[in-house]
Symmetry: C3
Subunit: 139 residues, 3 copies
Amino acid sequence: MWIQRTIQLNEKSRGFHLITREIQQQLPELHSVQVGLLHLFIQHTSASLTINENADPTVRSDMEAHINRMVPENAPYYKHTYEGADDMPAHIKASLLGNSVSIPISNGEMALGTWQGIYLGEHRDYGGKRRILATIQGQ
Amino acid sequence: MWIQRTIQLNEKSRGFHLITREIQQQLPELHSVQVGLLHLFIQHTSASLTINENADPTVRSDMEAHINRMVPENAPYYKHTYEGADDMPAHIKASLLGNSVSIPISNGEMALGTWQGIYLGEHRDYGGKRRILATIQGQ
Amino acid sequence: MWIQRTIQLNEKSRGFHLITREIQQQLPELHSVQVGLLHLFIQHTSASLTINENADPTVRSDMEAHINRMVPENAPYYKHTYEGADDMPAHIKASLLGNSVSIPISNGEMALGTWQGIYLGEHRDYGGKRRILATIQGQ
């Protein structure tokens, strides 16, 4: 069984956002898969998908605080600067964190650990609505 | 064909550990797959899975030395600090390195390059036993 | 349907390279897949695969400039140094960026976003020809 569907996320502010529920709600077909994989692929180069802690919002804000220092704005060696100070750092962050996640499906549910959730990393100041292509396979 | 199985890793010290053999031994079904994919997904948010050099242990210790500087403990901007100095850095490292790997299967074996092995990144001082959900698919 | 094929890339200079077309040309079978996934796995530990902006070459050179600062050569704590100053940083960069990408297939084409392309990160000064194992599955 293969299912493929585009998920449009509501616009988010810059930073990391827990989107597990938003994804689940748009993929009711998950319930019909006994064993399989869910592949989520963000079709942009300045936002990322990753899996991290689902409970404490300060994990998300600390992650944003740290990655802004690891990949600073206005580095003197950037040449790709005409879309704003947040542009080139957003591309670098997207590649460091990754643009897709693959999540096992067990008994009709994503087999996330107790403390795991899906994060959208929005790395632009005004990134707009983001598009994720979800591919479900399994039996 | 789909196979899904939980692998419990023995407790590891903080740092990077080569776990290729530990994974292989727990997945005898690999031998019955001619072509396919093995997906390994760690169900924790303070440890990671990655693929790197399988021969020289100093690659693992250098990687730990470097990532501890890239993602330091006790950064003044961390707010998620109540589980200890190693807590928030562990979450950041987990997202930078990733919580899953997908490895092609060819003729009943993982199709790793000559020098490739599977690393567990244990990013907590005392992370305990870690759980990996392995999903094999193929024919 | 499962297809697996080794792709040999031409030798590239150190830095990031757009390889979308080189990959497409070697995978004509993509056209026969209505829905599926393409998994690309580089069988080396000092080069990486990632997805990023496909238009402006300064994104690639800025990414190289930044990652060379994030993961410097000749750090005093490196012990794995006998293959040259570019050796240990290459291993670290490979794990940060990742050694594989999974790309959805829709209607016979990779379902990349408008601005997305596949990057090879060549992290050695003279990395030689790189080998990617491509696995296509779908229907």
